[in-house]
């Protein structure tokens, strides 16, 4: 008999608790597994998780004002921005001291750029003032209030000081507010003026168009996947190559091909005119708008819908349909009650894949989307590479990520993530 009894933990043959001895036995296995994935883990950490974390930090990070104008920020705390009066001489003096230091370090233009995101004109104000303020001496030339207003009358405007005070915090919600068409003011969050509200609309359009693209992918992919799953192996393999063919062609080439096809002097319009279906002056506008984006992206993302559907449908045995028919179900009933419910995991997997890819798509909307068919990602790219407002880009990206996670969560609640099968 073994020495295990009902009282106390079970022990191994040498008297150590079984759990510990099992843990020791498994440790080596775990270590080996960890070593095997270590290179990838490191790569993912360095090239994926860290950059994303850094980007997310940028969406709230706002050290530049407090770092460049440390004394001014302290003095501004005592100023009541709602009074409608300019701040006192102490603020101007501190500002000159800060600016002289900043001009030496050539930091004042960066600050100008930062504040220009919030209020246009700040950038040139800082650049212009910088040149003249260089000559001022923070001690000997006091007082400064009048002098500064003379250098640039912007410094005599309460709004400029309000702007500096509002954005002097080190961690700001300003970028996120901007990302949802609002702005940070001394009175709290407020809506942007009507003509500047574009981002929410863009978010909405991105979601809506991604939904349409996902929907049209489902409609197109379902019959194809069904055929593929029900043909004999040899034929289906050949058709599968046709499905995968787009994968082997550059995305840019495919998108450009759509441009050739869809434009007003393009292949489709030419054929329709030649057939007499449309008048020469009534050519269809199918590109540089939403239609173009939807058509091109549906085509590009179609394989991502077909593949999961196909692999799920392959596992649905044809005997299910036969069984249903033998019990008296018509073709349609057998399909709808028996086949379709079993294929839902494939639709789910494909939809998640296509929707998430679509929501962050950039190249295709950029090329065929014109102005009406662009996505939020194009706006992010604009802020990253053109306006250099990385904080706003990061905030937009964070919101996009949150939306995707939220949808994923909803999907899990409604359909159940266990129901997703990729093969």
């Amino acid at each position: 008999m073994s020495d295990t009894t009902d009282s106390g933990p079970i022990t191994a043959a040498d008297g150590t608790p079984l759990k510990r001895s099992l843990g020791r036995a498994l440790r080596q296995q775990k270590l080996r597994a960890l070593m095997l994935i270590a290179p990838l883990l490191l790569f993912v950490l360095l090239s994926f998780i860290l950059p994303i974390a850094n980007m997310l930090m940028r969406s709230v990070d706002n050290d530049i004002v407090a770092d460049t104008l440390p004394l001014t920020v302290v003095e501004l705390k005592t100023w009541d921005s709602d009074s409608g009066e300019l701040p006192g001489e102490n603020v101007y003096a501190a500002f000159v001291t800060d600016m002289v230091a900043a001009i030496d370090a050539k930091n004042h233009t960066k600050l100008g750029t930062r504040l220009n995101y919030e209020s246009t004109g700040m950038s040139s104000m800082f650049r212009q003032s910088g040149r003249k303020m260089k000559k001022l001496d923070p001690v000997a030339d006091a007082p400064f209030k009048e002098k500064l207003i003379k250098i640039n009358d912007g410094w005599g405007d309460v709004e400029a000081w309000r702007e500096i005070k509002t954005h002097s915090v080190r961690t700001t919600n300003g970028y996120f507010l901007n990302a949802v068409d609002m702005r940070r003011t001394p009175e709290g969050a407020q809506s942007q003026p009507e003509d500047k509200r574009i981002l929410i609309k863009l978010f909405g359009r991105t979601l809506w168009m991604s939904l349409i693209i996902t929907g049209s992918c489902i409609l197109l992919a379902y019959p194809i996947a069904w055929i593929l799953a029900n043909l004999p192996m040899r034929t289906s393999n050949m058709l599968m190559i046709l499905v995968l063919l787009p994968f082997w062609t550059s995305l840019l080439v495919r998108t450009s091909a759509w441009k050739v096809l869809l434009q007003q002097q393009g292949v489709i319009n030419e054929i329709l005119v030649w057939l007499g279906l449309i008048a020469d002056d009534g050519r269809l506008v199918m590109i540089n708008n939403q239609t173009g984006t939807i058509i091109a992206m549906t085509h590009i993302l179609l394989p991502f819908m077909i593949l999961p559907m196909y692999s799920v449908m392959q596992t649905i045995q044809p005997t299910y349909l036969r069984a249903a028919k033998s019990m008296g179900a018509t073709n349609w009933t057998a399909f709808w009650r028996v086949y379709f419910p079993q294929s839902i995991p494939g639709i789910g997997a494909g939809s998640i894949l296509v929707f998430i890819l679509a929501i962050g798509y950039y190249i295709t909307p950029e090329i065929v989307g014109g102005t009406k068919g662009v996505f939020i990602s194009n706006r992010i790219a604009y802020h990253i590479s053109s306006s250099l407002n990385w904080g706003l880009a990061a905030a937009l990206g964070a919101i996009l990520l949150a939306v995707v996670l939220l949808l994923y969560w909803c999907y899990d609640k409604i359909v159940g993530i266990d129901n997703v099968k990729l093969g």
């Binding site: 019990m327 179900a329 009650r337 079993q342």
Partner: protein, 366 residues
């Protein structure tokens, strides 16, 4: 089972042929008629056309030629869902996304039956297969044997007059299979349904059926009740396919008084019943069941021919002894004897005289 004439047959195949590729016939000239209430098994090796026949009857395959009649009406052009035939599939084909009760309710729903009537019938069908408490489960939560019962209940719940079963017990272990064999036959007989059962397991065919149709090469080789099939195989394929058999090749020397004298290839002479040999000089395959071989000379007829045999192997199998002999140049001659107190146990190396009654030995086509 009385042989029924075609006109009152419940199921009939008339000169049915089937080809998939237009070049070879999978089913060649099939003729078959079944009376109501019969349990008929289609038995045969894989590729013999038995499953194709079942699928044609169910309506999933169309006959290339010929007529299939159900209750006197040709069903060639009736789609499967209008045939009203219950079917049990090899892998059960229980719908995984429905509960057991929903599975059973499905055929009733498509028949637009009321809810209370449906529930009542489902419960009755579940009780019939002793699965009354499992209505709320999913198929994946049941064992193979339980799934089998549900598949059976589902095929019967809409009260079809004809039920087809395509190797329904193939996936079960031996013990469960034997238990289910009896349950299925009991159920079929109690309900009075006509059953067509496909299997490649001859034991299953023999124990369950009223009649067995042995398929080979797209034709029915023989269709008879199990005992007739076993004891009077009409050709060498049937003789070899059903049960164990010793076969020896030879030439017919003489046919007299219903007994054929056959000279085996090594020159020795034996007596056999001529089945499908008619002429002297014809080559033949004689077949004798291992349990019908006799060691005891007293039980043979006076002038019976005997053969010399050398014992090669003796295997103790519990209820029977299995002895392998060298007879007429073949090492594969097997004799089975019952484990009885007075039974002789042969030892390897011994030489014995063996013989048999001429009616147990059959001279078949070569």
């Amino acid at each position: 089972m009385p042989d029924t004439a075609n006109n009152d047959a419940f199921v009939a195949f008339e000169r049915v042929q089937k080809s998939y590729d237009g070049e070879t016939l999978v089913v060649k000239d099939l003729n078959l008629s079944m009376p109501k209430g019969e349990f008929l098994t289609m038995l045969g090796p894989s590729g013999s056309g038995k499953t194709t026949c079942l699928m044609m009857l169910a309506g999933f395959e169309t006959a290339t030629h010929g007529k299939i009649l159900l209750d006197g009406v040709s069903i060639n052009n009736i789609p499967p869902h209008k045939r009203g035939i219950g079917m049990v599939f090899q892998n059960y084909a229980l719908f995984p996304h429905m509960t057991i009760a929903e599975n059973l309710s499905f055929p009733l729903e498509v028949r637009k039956m009321g809810k209370s009537e449906r529930e009542e019938k489902v419960q009755r069908a579940l009780d019939m297969v002793e699965m009354g408490a499992f209505g709320g489960r999913r198929p994946a939560q049941l064992s193979g044997g339980q799934q089998q019962r549900i598949a059976l209940a589902r095929a019967l719940v809409f009260e079809p007059e004809l039920v087809l079963m395509d190797e329904p017990l193939g996936a079960l272990d031996k013990q469960l299979r034997e238990k289910m064999q009896f349950e299925i036959t009991d159920l079929a007989h109690n309900l009075g349904i006509t059953t067509v059962y496909v299997t490649h397991d001859q034991t299953e065919a023999l124990t369950m059926s009223d009649r067995v149709a042995v398929f080979d090469d797209g034709r029915i080789q023989q269709i008879d009740p199990p005992d007739v099939l076993y004891e009077n195989p009409q050709n060498s394929f049937v003789a070899q396919f059903i049960g164990e058999n010793n076969t020896m090749n030879g030439v017919v020397k003489e046919i007299k008084d219903g007994i054929a004298l056959v000279q085996l290839d090594d020159g020795s002479l034996i007596d056999a019943t001529p089945v499908n040999v008619s002429e002297v000089g014809e080559r033949t395959k004689v077949s004798i069941r291992p349990e019908r071989v006799e060691f005891n000379q007293d039980r043979l007829k006076g002038n019976a021919h005997t053969l010399k045999a050398e014992v090669l192997e003796f295997i103790y199998m519990g209820d029977i002894f299995r002895t392998r002999l060298r007879v007429a140049g073949s090492d594969e001659f097997v004799v089975k004897t019952r484990n009885a107190p007075d039974q002789v146990k042969l030892k390897p190396g011994e030489t014995v005289e063996i013989g048999w009654l001429p009616e147990d030995c059959r001279a078949l086509d070569a």
